[in-house]
């Protein structure tokens, strides 16, 4: 796990510069499925434009939540609950982007618990060997 920092930093560092576009648009892949509830949203918009990013649980944005407002061109979102989440961008001139759909499909809980059990048993066995060995060596 210690290597993930470097990898992610390098990933972030290799992001190309924003190109100029009049209507804000997402650079993040549409309709993608994520299994841990997090992803980085990226978009492009006119240079220096203030952008509002909204999130909704409904495709018609009947209950929008503003998650970001500013001149940034990326946002990391995490902890999303199971289901489809919709995002859209708007600049100050009310130019709106297409809607971005992210399918949050968490990994199977059953499999996660099963893997936890295996991991727990391996760990316990290791601890057992060390403690018993240390006792016998005394």
């Amino acid at each position: 796990m210690r290597h993930r920092l470097a990898a992610l930093l390098l990933l972030a560092a290799s992001t190309p510069l924003n190109s100029i576009a009049s209507v804000p648009s997402f650079k993040t892949e549409d309709l993608q499925s994520i299994d841990a509830g997090y992803l980085q949203l990226q978009w492009e918009a006119e240079e220096g434009a203030d952008i509002t990013l909204q999130r909704s649980r409904n495709a018609d944005f009947s209950d929008p939540v503003t998650v970001y407002q500013g001149k940034g061109r990326a946002l990391f979102v995490s902890g999303l609950a199971e289901g489809d989440v919709y995002f859209r961008l708007e600049d100050s001139a009310a130019n709106a982007s297409d809607i971005l759909t992210i399918k949050v499909r968490h990994q199977s809980l059953k499999r996660a618990l099963y893997l936890m059990l295996l991991g727990g048993l391996t760990t316990l066995a290791t601890i057992f060997v060390i403690i018993k060995g240390a006792r016998n060596a005394r």
Binding site: L10, Q107, L113, A137
Partner: protein, 475 residues
């Protein structure tokens, strides 16, 4: 991360860099005067006391990821993410009895390679050397790269300069001061890091209460609070086993087991584990506050610095800079020292020049440290993004060595074939599962497979190992 994200101006960054560079190198030269032989240089005279021993073990385990990655982990995997990270302290707790055992079985040993060679023979030793060098060198390169990138993101210092300065400083003081310098600076670094984390944590809490953070997370990131968050649950034991593999096999830790004064090792590693355990939570929770504080996080790896800079302004940015620099240095120096000792003892002395005198070995160790530094620098220079992904492979490699090492230390019946098959099959199947299932099971599967191999051979084709064989008479 582009320069415009920098939270500190470059001049301040350079001044801080200069102050700490001079401090570490000065201390390295000062402590280096104690070194007379390879044994002094590599093992600090085998007489390190409890205070320095505890601090060095904790500091080495506090890498740039504890301070930078713990917030990232919290942001991605929530409360379980922080707790999963804390389980890495088990590596230190469980190494405590192992360190005692190592000191007893091999009072004159130098490296973990010595153990593998004497316990399991040359084939297992060869595999071990390949695995551990792969792990150590990629860790070294990843830290130097991360250092350059972090200094760039924090203070706008150009990547190549930041990376070069960090490496050069660590190489210089490690070369001059050997393990004395590494351990001495580790103490100062660990105290600075912990104090910095505590100050930053309370500063965040003065701006926003935990209740507000909880409310914000419930509304915007409910999975982070979920007790049954699948991705986070899977991460727990995979991380724990990765951590055990890292600590149990690597010469960074073995060299400390040899260097600590008799009777100190076990207590020192337990204290180090206790010191380390709360740090991922204390450093990580600030990420959970980002939403409640209204801090927009463009990429997960910058969440810690962004939140602290938001709360503490330029004072916070300076604190982060110092903490990150200290945590990078405390790990890079240990890696340089332990890896150069491993190469000096296991390759230079055992393969190339068996008759080498102590003074010659000390010079060789210094030259190898320099060569490692230059090599790492050359690899880091082009800043190849894809290179970092290679580092993920280290998980299954190190996890496959847990069982051969643990049983090799405690069981007479643990056998050569058991160890060899455990390392080869464990890492092989672990890597396969990395690609076919996912990174989050690779270490777990590698550890399980290697456990089965060791157990089968110990049950059906046991050896009768004599512990005296671990004590070489030539020291």
């Amino acid at each position: 991360m582009p320069d415009e994200q920098a939270v500190l101006n470059p001049t301040t960054g350079w001044i801080l860099l200069a102050i700490f560079s001079v401090l570490w190198i000065g201390l390295g030269v000062y402590w280096g005067r104690k070194n007379k032989s390879f044994e002094d240089h590599a093992l600090a005279g085998r007489n390190v006391g409890l205070a320095l021993a505890s601090a060095t073990a904790a500091a080495t385990w506090i890498t740039s990821n504890t301070t930078m990655l713990a917030p990232q982990f919290a942001l991605q995997l929530g409360i379980w993410g922080m707790l999963a990270y804390s389980t890495a302290s088990f590596g230190l707790f469980l190494f405590a009895p192992i360190a005692k055992r190592i000191r007893k079985l091999m009072p004159n040993g130098y490296t973990s390679g010595d153990f593998m060679r004497l316990r399991y023979g040359r084939v297992a030793w060869g595999i071990f050397l390949v695995f551990t060098l792969f792990y150590s060198l990629t860790w070294l390169v990843s830290m130097a790269m991360a250092g350059g990138i972090v200094l760039n993101a924090l203070a706008g210092i150009p990547y190549v300069y930041g990376m070069s300065v960090i490496l050069a400083v660590c190489v210089l003081y490690t070369m001059r001061g050997g393990l004395y310098a590494v351990i001495g600076t580790d103490f100062i670094q660990s105290v600075i890091i912990i104090v910095g984390i505590v100050i930053a944590g309370f500063a965040v809490l003065s701006k926003v209460s935990m209740a507000e953070i909880h409310t914000n997370l419930t509304a915007n990131s409910p999975a982070l609070l979920d007790v049954l968050f699948p991705a986070a649950l899977i991460a727990i034991f995979n991380n724990l086993l990765f951590g055990l593999g890292e600590v149990f096999h690597n010469n960074v830790w073995w060299s400390r087991a040899f260097a600590f004064r008799e009777g100190v090792g076990q207590r020192a590693f337990i204290i180090a584990g206790l010191v380390w355990f709360p740090i991922p939570i204390a450093a990580g929770f600030v990420a959970l506050a980002s939403g409640a504080l209204g801090v927009a996080v463009p990429s997960a790896d910058m969440v810690g610095p962004l939140v602290i800079a938001n709360v503490l302004g330029s004072v916070g940015a300076i604190a982060i800079f110092i903490v990150v620099f200290c945590s990078l240095a405390s790990s890079i120096d240990s890696l340089l020292a332990a890896t150069s000792d491993l190469i000096t003892e296991d390759i230079y002395r055992r393969i190339a020049r068996p008759t080498a005198k102590p003074a010659e070995l000390k010079n060789a160790a210094q030259m190898i440290t320099l060569a490692l530094g230059i090599g790492a620098w050359a690899v880091c220079l082009p800043r190849i993004g894809t290179l970092a992904s290679v580092l993920f492979f280290a998980g299954p490699l190190v996890a496959s060595m847990i069982w051969p090492i643990v049983t090799g230390l405690y069981w007479k019946r643990a056998s050569r074939l058991g160890a060899i098959s455990a390392m080869v099959l464990g890492s092989g199947i672990g890597l396969w599962s990395y690609f076919s299932i996912g990174w989050y099971v690779a270490s777990l599967i590698a550890a399980m497979v290697s456990m089965v191999c060791v157990l089968l051979f110990a049950a059906f084709k046991p050896e009768e190992f004599q512990w005296q064989e671990l004590q070489e008479g030539d020291q």
